[in-house]
């Protein structure tokens, strides 16, 4: 019996690959497995190649997994386009449609011999059952149920639900297709049985993705306004708002461009309402001027960047973590802007609530750096208990503050009570131009210096918040992993693997990326001889941001590469191990002063 199964499938756009993945994950949810599904497409609207990975397990799933245990190619051309996203190795069960004409001993997988290979007449079976090739995805579900023992009854229930509106005939045809798949698998058993252990999970679960959790968290946190513009892979955030926010008296503005989207959100915040915009790299580039305005006007605002491959249009449908520099530095003038990052679907909710709390408390724009993978992957997660959250609202002026009111009054912590239009006695001029405490425009060097000092000092408390970091593993370990965003999920599994292999490792996951909490890194680094800062980017941006703020031990190095080349937990362990060994063998290097 196995506890963890990583399935990858690919086909052309009309093959219903993603739909099969959705049926599978929803069946897994119904029977009680933990599961995660990621989708990947070519950039075509219809047609072209599409793929998905489903990972199911009896314990929580931390990332989409490494090499596939089961690979399904409806045609080879499309399958091979996904390269490192659907890696096959010597442990993979490879299944493909015999229609492709490829002989099982001549697979187009250079240098790789899968554990088992099945050439299955998937298309033909679909035609026999449903009269068309459109049933291929249901055949695949039958094969998976037959060979790996996953969710047979639940998949049939899912089929009934899915086709309920399309009539009994279609339901029957798909049930027939499913049965054909199961029969095929039973007639052609695996050489080595790989049946999934029955699920052990308990408690209520949710099936959702990062973008929906982001939008839901925003509304839960009291957000009443969304302004934005469609862009992959963030659009689902706006879509959720357009369905839900009206119910709470709020509004959405799908703007004419990215600038108008954030402008409208800032206008709503000026009006005293919690507001948000969401985009991806190119859109955030357009928004940066108004992000700067929000910093100087000291207006709360949450900006979500669902990262994709950059620069420019880049790789819009794939995850990357290369917008950190943009999030931290894309302002002219001296600006500190908090940047947060979730690491998975569930904590996207927590991180977004936190982003609103920080935005409101500090009267500042806050960037949430999500990415395509966590934003768009479907995941079975534990129920989120909304009662555990505290919601923070901006500091409003008291009656005494209004006599007379100084919007930007210097206070001990740098945070000044904020009024909004409609509040009698709170009238002030908000502006991007430098202003005095009262809000009047000024070019005074003295006041400019004082205001910069106020706007930066107000984050002193944020820099000391250790609760925005997780440290996992052996606290005295000499080896370190540091990872943020979706890659942190991969590193969590790498930590488990490494610990099981006897390596002494600890992992630091920052949810607050900026401003840097120097204390927590200094304490973390005390025991560290060697380590990796893992990031899905070419430059290793977080490593560089860390080094700007503090002394990183010489043995800690970036381990990074561009998006579309996912990291696998085992290779992170290998890299950490080799890196540490190399340092040990080459002791002199470890003693060298830092570059």
């Amino acid at each position: 019996m196995i506890k963890d199964l990583v399935i990858g499938m690919a086909g052309s756009g009309g093959d219903g690959i993603v739909s099969a993945g959705e049926s599978l994950i929803s069946a897994c949810t119904a029977v009680g497995y933990h599961a995660m599904m990621t989708k990947s497409f070519g950039s075509q609207i219809r047609g072209g190649e599409s793929s998905c990975r489903v990972r199911l397990a009896t314990s929580p799933v931390l990332n989409p997994g490494g090499a596939l245990h089961v690979a399904i190619a409806l045609n080879w051309e499309d399958f091979l386009k996904f390269g490192a996203e659907l890696p096959v190795d010597g442990d993979t069960v490879m299944i493909y449609d015999s229609k492709t004409g490829v002989a099982p001993n001549e697979l187009p997988l250079v240098g790789i011999t899968p554990a088992e290979v099945f050439s299955v007449p998937i298309g033909e079976m679909a035609r026999n059952a449903t009269g068309s090739e459109r049933g291929k995805n249901t055949i695949v579900l039958g094969l998976l149920a037959g060979w790996f023992g996953i969710g047979g009854e639940a998949i049939i229930n899912g089929i009934r639900k899915k086709f309920a509106k399309k009539g009994a005939e279609l339901i029957q045809a798909n049930e027939q297709a499913f049965a054909l798949g199961v029969q095929y698998a039973e007639a052609n058993p695996l050489k080595k049985s790989r049946r999934m252990e029955p699920p052990t999970r308990t408690g209520q679960k949710m099936l959702t993705d990062g973008n929906d959790m982001c939008a839901a968290a925003a509304i839960f946190a009291g957000c009443d306004f969304f302004g934005g513009y469609p862009i992959t892979p963030s659009t689902e955030v706006m879509q959720f708002f357009t369905r839900e926010v009206w119910k709470y008296g709020g509004a959405v503005m799908q703007a004419e461009d990215e600038i108008a989207g954030i402008g409208a959100a800032l206008g709503a915040s000026f009006g005293g309402k919690k507001a948000m915009t969401a985009s991806s790299g190119p859109g955030v580039s357009l928004k940066t001027e108004i992000m700067g305005l929000a910093s100087v006007a000291e207006l709360p605002l949450v900006i979500v960047n669902v990262q994709r491959g950059g620069p420019s249009t880049g790789v819009p449908t794939k995850a990357e973590q290369s917008d950190l520099f943009q999030a931290v530095f894309s302002a002219h003038g001296d600006v500190v802007r908090p940047v947060l990052a979730p690491t998975g679907v569930s904590d996207t909710f927590d991180t977004t609530v936190e982003a609103f709390n920080i935005a409101e408390y500090y009267q500042t724009p806050v960037v949430v750096l999500s990415d395509q993978e966590i934003a768009q992957r479907k995941e079975v997660i534990d129920l989120i208990d909304t009662s555990r959250f505290t919601i923070i609202d901006r500091l409003r002026p008291t009656a005494a503050d209004l006599e007379p009111y100084s919007r930007f009054r210097f206070t001990p912590n740098g945070i000044s009570p904020i009024s909004h239009p409609g509040m009698k006695g709170g009238n002030y001029l908000g502006s991007g131009i430098e202003h005095n405490e009262h809000g009047d425009p000024t070019a005074s060097g003295r006041i400019h210096e004082q205001m910069n000092e106020k706007r930066i000092r107000k984050f002193d408390r944020l820099r000391k918040r250790d609760d925005l970091f997780r440290i996992e593993g052996d606290p005295d370990a000499p080896l370190a992993l540091i990872a943020w965003g979706s890659i942190a999920g991969t590193c969590r599994e790498a930590l488990q693997l490494a610990t099981a292999e006897g390596l002494r490792v600890k992992l630091l996951v920052p949810y607050l990326l900026f401003p840097i909490n120097e204390g927590i890194y200094r304490r973390f680094f005390k025991t560290i001889k060697a380590g990796l800062v893992v990031e899905q980017s070419y430059l290793g941006q977080f490593y560089h941001v860390l080094r700007m703020a503090l002394d990183v031990p010489a043995g800690v190095k970036p381990f990074c590469r561009s998006g579309s080349n996912p990291f696998h937990p085992s290779e992170i362990v290998r890299k950490l191990h080799d890196h540490a060994l190399n340092l040990q063998q080459n002791g002199a290097a470890a003693r060298q002063p830092q570059e």
Binding site: L207, A255, L266, L293, P421
Partner: protein, 296 residues
């Protein structure tokens, strides 16, 4: 609150809307007259200053919110309209004014005007059209006449100017007027009417730049050449007639209301209110926002 419902029996005077800030404008700038007209219009409308939000972009004229006692937001170049629309959607009860120059409205922010018009929220947009970039010292602007010489058009402009009146009329604005500080009573009356008008209302003010503007564009010249639309036989309920008259922009100075939709369409705010009334009673509390994701 619908601004049209406000009674005209105002308890406010112009001085109640005048702030302590001293304008940075050059002596003789047309914007002084626009400011006076706005004070008068606001006094006539009678909303208290704290219920008014005045949003602007960047430029000489965009300094204007600071010279009033209303809430103001002197934002960034060209983005006053998006900010104002977000504010109005979030706080429909406010009276929201938007102001800026011709560069702000028809160059860097030109893309926003059409969308503000089609959304049709209840905003009043006042453009102080001086045909130059005054704050940056006299560059060519989107409304500078063809052939204009400036520091960025040493041999004369080769480009046709934007016609703000035709622009907003063509996109379907329901209220379009043009005034000049050469006639402050007329200007304040049309601003007052624009504020009271339900929906997006546009007032183009030919507001001369005393420093970089040409002789023929100064207040004295305006007084000599301006013609009130009511004196030239104009039906302001006809968009076609309004477009016809608007073609004279740049050659003649016609003032008054070009177009006033006799049957104004519902404002965005009114439509949002209807949607709220339909959806809000059925809403679960925010704490239950995750219910739909729970698997049973």
């Amino acid at each position: 609150m619908d601004t049209t419902a406000i009674s005209s029996a105002s308890t406010f005077a112009s001085k109640d809307f005048k702030s302590d800030l001293k304008p940075i404008w050059c002596p003789g700038c047309g914007d002084f007259g626009v400011l006076q007209a706005i004070y008068r219009a606001l006094a006539a409308v009678g909303r208290p200053p704290h219920e008014i939000a005045f949003i602007s972009g960047i430029g000489c004229s965009s300094r204007i919110p600071g010279y009033t006692t209303a809430y103001g937001f002197n934002s960034v170049h060209g983005r006053a309209l998006p900010i104002a629309q977000g504010l109005k959607l979030a706080r429909p009860e406010l009276l929201v004014l938007v102001a800026g120059g011709d560069g702000d409205g028809f160059s860097i922010g030109g893309g926003h005007v059409a969308h503000a018009i089609r959304r049709n929220d209840d905003l009043t947009y006042i453009v102080m059209d001086n045909k130059t970039y005054g704050l940056t010292k006299g560059q060519l602007s989107p409304t500078s006449p063809k052939g204009s010489r400036s520091v960025t058009s040493a041999y004369g402009s080769l480009e046709n100017p934007v016609n703000p009146l035709m622009y907003v009329l063509a996109y379907g604005a329901s209220f379009v007027a043009q005034g000049t500080p050469a006639d402050i009573p007329g200007l304040s009356a049309m601003i007052e009417e624009a504020i009271r008008f339900p929906g997006f209302a546009f007032v183009n003010v030919q507001s001369p730049c005393v420093t970089y503007g040409e002789e023929g564009q100064q207040i004295k010249a305006h007084k000599a050449v301006m013609k009130k639309l009511e004196t030239v036989g104009h039906d302001a309920t006809s968009r076609i007639q309004a477009l016809d008259k608007a073609q004279t922009y740049g050659q003649e100075l016609l003032t008054g209301v070009f177009f006033r939709d006799p049957n104004p369409p519902p404002t965005l705010g009114a439509l949002v209110k209807q949607r709220h009334e339909a959806l809000m009673p059925k809403a679960a509390p925010r704490e239950r926002i995750l219910d739909s994701f729970v698997q049973h």
